[in-house]
Point group: C2
Chain length 303, copies 2
């Protein structure tokens, strides 16, 4: 595992030492379980490493922080091929590097199946953290990164369609999500009032912002960049591209509220607006084109 | 989960924000699995919470740092009683509080059995980290905390002896280890040249220091404080109190090397000395009373 200058002490001692120049450290943990978050039949070790790292690193970016380090705890059965574990390490290291972070430590234990817990650390660079609770009525809502690609890729994998270029790209998006890490600190600089990464689905995660901020958020589906999703939806019986974009999780796009006069670069696409909580239209926290969403919801734990 | 002044932003957002006044953060992760590290028949939720927290917090103390925060990832089956999970949270919080740290974040997921991954963070307070690699020939080796109590407690549990006062205290030491956290930063102030927490057993963990420092360490068994271990050993066929003290892990005592002229307070008990690697007696990294140890070794993962 390569170590950059922010790693004062890396793998090999009781604990790692990581630079925290801001004087505060941002920290988040996520756990992935074989059979629930991934299948070894579908995901390579590299895929799982990338996904495990991306989930935690995106949480750091969603605070407006720059990722600095990962710690990885791995449980594995004795039957796990060593090559798979090495691929996992490779995926973790490559995604950490894409985010500018080092893998600085970890733990291993014997278990009945593969369980990976990744802790990510980050630095705010002197900025305030961007929480879920600062959105105001009148703000615009904008997204950086892709929506619905992971859900479409999972549907294509499950439907066993021919792996043409379109399908392969979306399946790749499912297996190796690529969150737009640098957009997180950039959003903080641009004045973001609230931010979250889309892990459970756009509507579910905007619901977290709306609830924490005491506002209503209205999503304009005509503003969504559906890209190749309509073409992919034609390959899967019953699929709807807008539903993928609104409820598909695991792409780890960043979605944020900004003051209406914020000068947003092309990284950020405006897809909605923040309304007061007392909006007479509804008591829902999130609206789609001005109305409550009647379709399926996003990912729920302990469903 | 109570939050002290070092927790800038606690549970409830994408990530936590924790004070890192030193400008560096110390970080370690440990994973505990039901069936391997604990049994729900023997350990209550509080017990498991205390043990999970203690393992990671002791790693922070072993660097000479003061623990500041814990992040906890939990996988649990739907059948887990809610009361057990609440007890787990209570145990985590109480042990964190004993170490001066807050539980600041986490993750939950559904799994087939209980898996707990605890990440601990800490602050060096302007001191250099005490690694495993700084021990010099001529140093003394000293221990803070108890040795062998957890191993004795596990043996007493397994032997199903009457739970008199002696047995109960050692079983309690197994179920809820109590590392001497404040001795870690104190050791750094006292000039410790190398330090580790005893998680795998004294000989195994001294072996890590000896290997990393390029030295030999000789343990004087007559200097060990066996306390009640001889009495407990009489209750368990084949048990040996010295073997418990030398090879029993999970008490999370701290063991450190100090310059021979260090003025050690009573917290630290001198139990051995550091010899040059070229010592003609042996090529073993750790000696017991001047000779290679022929008894059982400490805990090994993937055994």
């Amino acid at each position: 595992m390569p170590a950059g200058p922010g790693t004062r002490l890396g793998i090999g001692d009781d604990a790692a030492v990581v630079a925290a120049p801001d004087g505060n450290v941002v920290a988040a943990v996520d756990m992935l379980l074989e059979g629930r978050h991934f299948l070894r039949d579908w995901s390579s070790g590299v895929d799982v490493g990338v996904k495990a790292a991306a989930r935690s690193l995106a949480d750091i970016a969603a605070m407006g922080a720059t990722p600095t380090a990962l710690l990885v705890a791995l449980a594995a059965p004795p039957s796990l091929p060593a090559a798979w574990a090495l691929d996992l390490a490779s995926g973790l290291a490559s995604e950490a590097a894409r985010a500018g972070a080092d893998v600085v430590g970890g733990d291993t234990a014997q278990g009945d199946s593969v369980v990976i817990s990744v802790t990510a650390l980050g630095d705010l660079g002197g900025r305030a953290a961007v929480t879920r609770s600062g959105a105001h009525a009148g703000d615009v809502v904008a997204v950086a990164g892709v929506l619905g690609h992971s859900a479409a890729g999972l549907a294509l994998l499950s439907a066993d369609v021919p792996k043409d270029e379109l399908a392969s790209a979306l399946i790749q998006a499912h297996l190796r999500p690529q969150p737009p890490y640098s957009a997180g600190p950039a959003a903080a600089e641009l004045g973001a009032t609230a931010m979250i990464d889309v892990s459970d689905g756009l509507l579910a995660d905007l619901g977290h912002i709306a609830w924490a901020s005491g506002v209503v958020i209205d999503v304009d589906t005509s503003a969504l960049d559906l890209g190749s999703l309509p073409d992919a939806a034609r390959l899967v019986p019953g699929a709807d591209p807008v539903t993928w974009a609104l409820t598909g999780g695991e792409d780890h796009a960043l979605v944020a509220a900004f003051p209406a006069d914020a000068a947003l670069p092309a990284t950020w696409r405006i897809i909605g607006r923040v309304l007061p909580a007392s909006d007479p239209h509804t008591r829902e926290a999130v609206l789609v084109d001005g109305r409550p969403w009647a379709g399926p919801a996003g990912w729920e734990h302990f469903r």
